[in-house]
Symmetry: C2
Subunit: 363 residues, 2 copies
DNA sequence: TCCAGGTGTTAAATCGATTTATCACGGGGA
DNA sequence: TCCCCGTGATAAATCGATTTAACACCTGGA
């Protein structure tokens, strides 16, 4: 069965194609009510669906968005970003072209050309982790950067507020009464994530604000993995008792999982002996630890939404600035008061088992 | 700057648009070599890129593929599927429309209509986990099902061979010398994954083939999560010594992570006292366990490739059958010989630390 | 009777390519 | 000289919509 064209509808309704077009698009015109109904009836009698191609060609507007990303598909993080962007697009009748460049510059160039050839109405350039990216040549000036900051200014972008997130995590620990709070950072030096420094800065600012001196001995680095976290935390636990941290803020959940291992290996308990907080809120890690890991969530879904809304011109206000998005603390069971404050009445802590196991962020 | 049209190239080269079109598309014609070069030079002098819209309209061929999925973006699994599909598409000059329906039937219908309006050349319908799906009305007959089996026959589809995968896992344990091998399954009853039964069948077949009687006591179920796995495995470990399993095959890696917890809680060691094998090869779980988890990989990337290749008509042979794809065992360090076989020479096993930590599937 | 003005509808141009059918020209054979 | 044929290039139709400008008809007032 061949495609149903607008002329078929016109024939069925006994009118011209102009009339059909005007009616179906609710264009301002003087078509009588009776004719309108006849056209509409004919249209769905023959099962008419206008060709987006033809319409796009004529209108120079395609209702499609291009989403270019370095590895969005291969990382567990960024699916949520995609989902957020997708969601907004769908609600506004847009279809999205997804291109995964796998970080290859040639592929990237080709993708940009292909999307231009398709005359996408908007372009989003996404990274799977927060970093500074070179602006690929040929990228439209109105492209929106998602989870990355363009090297040159003048573009709109949305990134997580990792500094505030780092502060929030530290505040969580300070608030629980901790004073000796270690920071376990990534040792990555090439292509180092901005987040590494930002989270650390946030942590430092909260320590300062709480009047706690930052102890260089309470800083450790490791490779971003459970093993790296384990090694780094092992070092920290080797410190003499009075210097040993009572809480550890890990760069991310993978390293936090390693922290669990190191802590367990010493026969210490979480959070009774040591509190741990992670970052990223990776469901498969954080929620599945024993006890479930308190962590800071990256607002991937929200960033995806934001980027698409800006790209489609729905958020009129935000023009060209970089938007920073809040990273909420997800409270689970790995943070408690430091042992000193609890040890006194020997066995009197309220049970920790009944805390929230859900991953719902607080607002 | 307005779009560069083919007529601009024609003007620049001093020829007709027909000539330009024929030259740039390498169409069989009698254009002289000299003219060809002139046209090509003019084309990239003015920076011409043909409009995919116009070309698509004329040719009734768009070089785009629609990929509809229930939640592909929100699950960590399926990113690899997307990557595989994407990869093939890119290599063949196709652009892919990604639509995430979030399982909503209305959204699905709308997506199918929108993709039809865009005149996509091919359609892939993907699920994030292996199951039987209802065929949405309006889906083109030549659509390819990815990681799911359509309720009605006549469609092409690709799924993991979970039966063979289950067998491979069991064989891994039998091969290591185990005889008391437990199976920890999902307790899911609503919308139960086909994989649950298939993996179990595979396991049973290997037991039979090895002459080992299946012991109903060695079957347990739980919710699909670390907690569920932990509870189920705890039960198994409660069995009297001579009946207790020496190896446990878990429905997936999340449950296997729970198994680790249960085993550790008893003060037992992996794999010295108990071997564990998982399924899915979720990097964030399997590779990060201590010791790293031996598991069976779902060939998501390969399935994605296959689906796209079939959709684009690159794989001519495979016409309408369901294709089952091999699930390779990923050997890490959680499987060893049963304690009885090892205990004798007290301390003589070769170190397990130097085994492959890489996730490369063997071929 | 003629024209102005309003109402309902449509013919034709357009978007930017591809593709079919045709044209112009020159050389060689009868 | 005339015709045929091969070579090189192009005019025009087409894909399926939207949109502009115009047409036909009717009513009422001068």
């Amino acid at each position: 069965m061949a495609r149903v064209r607008i002329s078929d509808v016109a024939a069925a309704a006994g009118v011209s194609v102009t009339t059909v077009s005007l009616v179906l698009n609710d264009a301002p015109s003087r078509i009588s009510q009776e004719t309108r109904e006849r056209v509409r009836a004919a249209a769905d009698a023959v099962g008419y669906a206008p060709s987006s191609l033809a319409r796009g060609l004529r209108q120079q507007r395609t209702n499609t968005v291009g989403l270019i990303s370095d590895q969005i598909a291969t990382t567990p993080y960024a699916g949520r970003m995609l989902a957020g962007a997708q969601d907004v697009a769908r609600r506004h009748g847009q279809l999205v072209f997804l291109v995964d460049t796998e970080g290859d510059a040639d592929v990237e160039r080709a993708a940009i050309r292909a999307l231009a050839a398709q005359q996408v109405d908007a372009t989003i350039y996404a990274s799977m982790w927060h970093r500074v990216v070179r602006v690929p040549e040929g990228l439209p000036r109105d492209a929106v950067f998602l989870d990355c900051t363009p090297e040159v200014p003048g573009f709109r972008s949305v990134v997580p507020d990792d500094r505030a997130g780092g502060a929030a995590a530290a505040r969580e620990l300070v608030g629980a009464g901790h004073r000796r709070i270690a920071f376990v950072n990534t040792a990555d030096t090439v292509d180092r994530p901005i987040a590494a420094d930002l989270r650390f800065e946030g942590y430092l600012s909260v320590l300062a604000e709480a009047g706690v001196a930052a102890d260089p001995a309470l800083y450790a680095e490791g490779e971003v993995s459970a093993r790296g976290g384990r090694q780094a935390v092992s070092q920290l636990l080797d410190l003499p008792d009075e210097q040993r941290p009572t809480a550890i803020f890990c760069f991310n959940d993978r390293m936090a999982a390693g922290a669990y291992m190191a802590v367990r290996a010493r026969g210490l308990r979480i959070p009774e002996d040591i509190s741990i907080i992670g970052y990223d809120d990776q469901q498969l890690i954080a929620a599945e630890q024993d006890p479930p890991l308190t962590t800071v969530a990256l607002p991937h879904y929200e960033m995806g939404r934001w980027a698409m809304e800006v790209a489609l011109g729905i958020r009129a206000g935000e023009t060209d600035a970089t938007h920073q998005m809040e990273c909420p603390v997800i409270r689970r069971d790995s943070v408690g008061p430091p042992p000193a404050l609890v040890a006194k009445p020997s066995r009197r802590r309220t049970s920790h088992t009944e805390r929230s196991h859900s991953a719902t962020p607080e607002r």
